[in-house]
């Protein structure tokens, strides 16, 4: 069965923060032949729960199977296709680019437009940090390419639903706040969201 509405989906997965979970998820994708474009993992407010953000390419039928198969993994608590709701997506890029004296001003100007931060400078190179949507990251990479990119690394997408109460947030709440009353946990959603 297949349909022709293939596109990228951003899927958020809450999992038990246990040994081996990442390999279960990654293994599922290779075993079932699904295309995974990026995967990022981090802890949530509850340290026993991790959150993965997956970007998967597929039509409605494939995505339905991906979600069902993810659900079937014993350590998966909740799966949400964020593409089905209003959400914010961000990716972070670290990029080290040749910075000859003559090019420096131009690189900084490009950086400014993209609200990049210069995080390291040497005699011959700038390292910039940029966050944004995938298209924005793609665009700055293209603009910096002519200067000569020495190295770049992208985090893969993270995403969060907008709105006061999303389904995933409700589950996170139900799972409870961290067990040890950790003092002053950052409540700012931007900590997770890389919002700029």
């Amino acid at each position: 069965m297949s349909t022709d509405d293939a596109r990228k989906h951003t899927i958020a997965v809450l999992v038990e923060n246990k040994f081996g979970v990442l390999s279960r998820v990654a293994g599922l994708f290779s075993a079932r032949g699904y295309n995974i474009e990026s995967l990022s993992v981090g802890e949530t407010l509850d340290p026993t729960v991790s959150r993965m953000t997956l970007v998967v390419h597929g039509d409605a039928f494939i995505i339905e199977q991906v979600i069902k198969q993810l659900h079937k993994l014993i350590d998966v608590i909740k799966v949400t296709d964020l593409s089905e709701e209003d959400h914010v997506e961000r990716e972070m890029l670290l990029i080290r680019v040749n910075a000859e004296p003559a090019a420096r001003a131009e690189i900084l100007r490009v950086g400014d437009i993209f609200r990049a931060k210069v995080v390291d400078v040497t005699a011959t190179a700038y390292t910039l940090e940029v966050t944004g949507e995938e298209t924005k990251i793609d665009a700055i990479v293209e603009l910096l390419r002519p200067f000569g990119i020495q190295e770049l690394v992208r985090t893969g997408k993270v995403a969060i639903a907008r709105g006061p109460k999303t389904r995933l947030r409700k589950v996170e709440e139900k799972l409870g706040k961290p067990k040890s009353a950790a003092p002053a946990q950052p409540q700012d959603p931007r900590v997770v969201g890389f919002a700029d």
Partner: protein, 584 residues
């Protein structure tokens, strides 16, 4: 209470109600065997190869309804076990498999007999655990049994490092398990059940298509009720055989690639197809776009990922077969009160008479011969002599299909076969496990000469453990199923399908202390079967059959079920099948 990890493992097994373990020792699990030495209440059956331990646990599980347990050592033993785990995964058989592991501080060091056990079994199990801390041992084993036996059943693997087994830990066995990430749905959605009932009651050409889920949820009584109420005909998958008595007039027998003509025709022409605990496997559907093209499809399955995986389902019901069927029976009864049956009565009568015509005109058939034994005949006679009351196990190949076609399975949990993985060598070790779980019952392993040789060493286990399994080898001198494909599809270019060097199976049986009997003529079949059944202890009956016989009907690979052939095919069909990419 402080106990060694090894003792904790066995105490847990006892609390889970296990009474038999199939296993084979080695360095990493010797602490468990040391406790086993004088442990009361657990029978250990020593197999000769680890895959056999897994298959035996499968047979034990399928026929008793309990969770099968096996125990093997680290490294090569664990890798040997993998085939059986994957087999159980594909066929949804609940097992808990223990393997030994090198001590935790050596994990990852390429230590002696080390393998990444959990890495290797990850995709071959429903779930797996590496026990790193002995304090978790009780909880993990409890979870392992819980996960194996609930929801869609399947194998769970627990890897036990030697230091965890040797050291002492506080033993507490949890009474209950709660996993926030694992909560199978048992009750079907009432609205969906009502919808299904409406469709069933209004159906003009209904067919029930039932599978292994009916067996694992013990839903045969509820299925029977639904059939009585609706008078709808029932077809069963290879894994579902026994869910409904095959001798019943409403039975259409097996459907699919080697299913009956009448089952495949009925499914093809159905207007409502009710799939219960079956997973629309490609052996069943044939070409998917031509499967039940006019039917509104209702699918009851406990695993949401089974639903709409291969075939688009119109009325999905996620839930346990047993519970959903009993609600469905109520809902159908309710619906029948309000919907006048007169609307469909005439159409239903026509449907049943159409089915009767198909059954009459295209029954299962084979050519009789006075000279050479026909394999189908042997199986028919087994069916008659046992009155369908034996516990049947098969190997994989032609003989498996003939067993499915000609043995009239009467009861659920009386039929074990490797359906999903199609594992040659499954027969004898599985039969051994069936016998261990059902002392005193007649257990018959209908095997192929090829399949049998993949695990014939288990005759030693049968002999030593006094497991009186009766094996009937349908001996066609080779890989019959391969030969059939080469004949029908690959233009009779027979390659690697003959097994010229097979041993004398009678003498092989005798070498193991078992009884061997040979049959070469049709007239000898019945007396030999009678002798086999009445001979105590394990018996091997080597029946030399017609090597040219093919399994029919057959849906050539890549074909639609309606294109099934009842005899060797035309050149056209052959060439099309040769290009297909789906194998047996």
């Amino acid at each position: 209470m402080k106990l060694s990890g090894a003792r904790i493992v066995l105490e847990c097994l006892k609390r889970e109600g296990a009474d038999v373990i199939f296993g084979l020792p080695g360095g990493a699990v010797l602490p468990i065997y040391d406790v086993l030495y004088d442990f009361k209440g657990l029978r250990h059956i020593l197999v000769r190869q680890e895959a056999a331990a897994g298959h035996a646990a499968e047979g034990y599980s399928r026929t008793t309804g309990k969770i099968g347990v096996c125990l093997v050592t680290s490294g090569p033993a664990a890798t040997n076990l993998v085939t059986a785990l994957q087999d159980a995964l594909m066929d949804s058989i609940p097992l808990v498999a223990f393997t030994g592991q090198v001590p935790t501080h050596l994990i990852g060091n390429d230590a002696f007999q080390e393998a990444d056990n959990v890495g290797i079994t990850r995709s071959a199990t429903k779930h797996n655990f590496l026990v790193k801390d002995g304090n978790d041992l009780g909880a993990i084993i409890k979870e392992a049994f819980h996960i194996a036996g609930t929801g869609r059943p399947g194998p769970v693997h627990v890897d036990l490092p030697k230091d965890v087994l040797v050291k002492e830990w506080t033993f507490e066995y949890p009474e209950t398990v709660h996993l926030r990430s694992y909560n199978p749905t048992y009750e079907g959605h009432p609205g969906q059940i009502k919808k299904a009932a409406r469709a069933i009651v209004r159906a003009k050409r209904p067919v029930l298509y039932v599978g292994g889920g009916i067996i694992s949820s013990d839903a045969s009584p509820e299925l029977r009720e639904l059939v009585e109420l609706t008078q709808a005909p029932v077809t069963q998958t290879l894994m579902g055989l026994g869910a409904f008595p095959m001798a019943d007039p409403l039975s259409l027998d097996m459907l699919g690639m080697h299913g009956t003509y009448y089952a495949n025709m009925a499914v093809h022409h159905a207007d409502v197809l009710v799939a219960v605990g079956a997973r629309f496997d490609d052996r069943v559907t044939g070409r998917v776009d031509a499967f039940a093209p006019d039917a509104e499809i209702i699918h009851v399955d406990i695993d949401p990922s089974s639903i709409s995986k291969n075939i688009k389902v119109h009325i999905p019901i996620v839930g346990d077969c047993k519970r959903v069927l009993s609600r469905l029976v109520e809902a159908v009864r309710e619906e029948m009160r309000t919907y006048p049956q007169s609307g469909v009565r005439e159409a239903r009568k026509q449907w049943m008479s159409q089915i009767a015509d198909w059954k009459r005109d295209f029954p299962l058939r084979y050519e009789w011969s006075d000279e050479v034994v026909k394999p189908q005949h042997v199986i028919q006679e087994i069916s008659t002599l046992t009155n369908g009351e034996a516990l049947i196990v098969t190997g994989v190949g032609q003989h498996q299909m003939w067993a499915a076609q000609y043995y009239r399975v009467k009861h659920p949990r009386a039929w074990c076969t490797s359906g999903g993985l199609g594992t040659m060598g499954y027969g004898l070790p599985t039969a051994m496990g069936v016998q261990a779980g059902n002392p005193g019952r007649l257990v018959i392993n209908i095997d192929g000469d090829g399949s049998f040789q993949m695990n014939s060493q288990e005759l030693a286990t049968c002999f030593e453990e006094k497991l009186p399994v009766k094996t009937v080898i349908i001996n066609n001198g080779g890989h019959g199923m391969v030969r059939q494909w080469q004949r029908i599809i690959y233009k009779e270019r027979y390659c690697a399908s003959d097994l010229g060097g097979s041993p004398d199976f009678v003498r092989l049986a005798e070498a193991y202390g078992c009884t061997g009997i040979r049959v070469t003529k049709p007239s000898e079949v019945v007396p030999a079967l009678e002798k086999m059944i009445s001979t105590p202890g394990p018996v091997v009956l080597d029946v030399w059959v017609d090597k040219h016989e093919c399994v029919f009907p057959m849906v050539p690979a890549g074909g639609a079920n309606i294109d099934m052939i009842l005899a060797p095919p035309s050149v056209d069909v052959r060439d099309k099948a040769a290009k297909s990419q789906t194998g047996f």
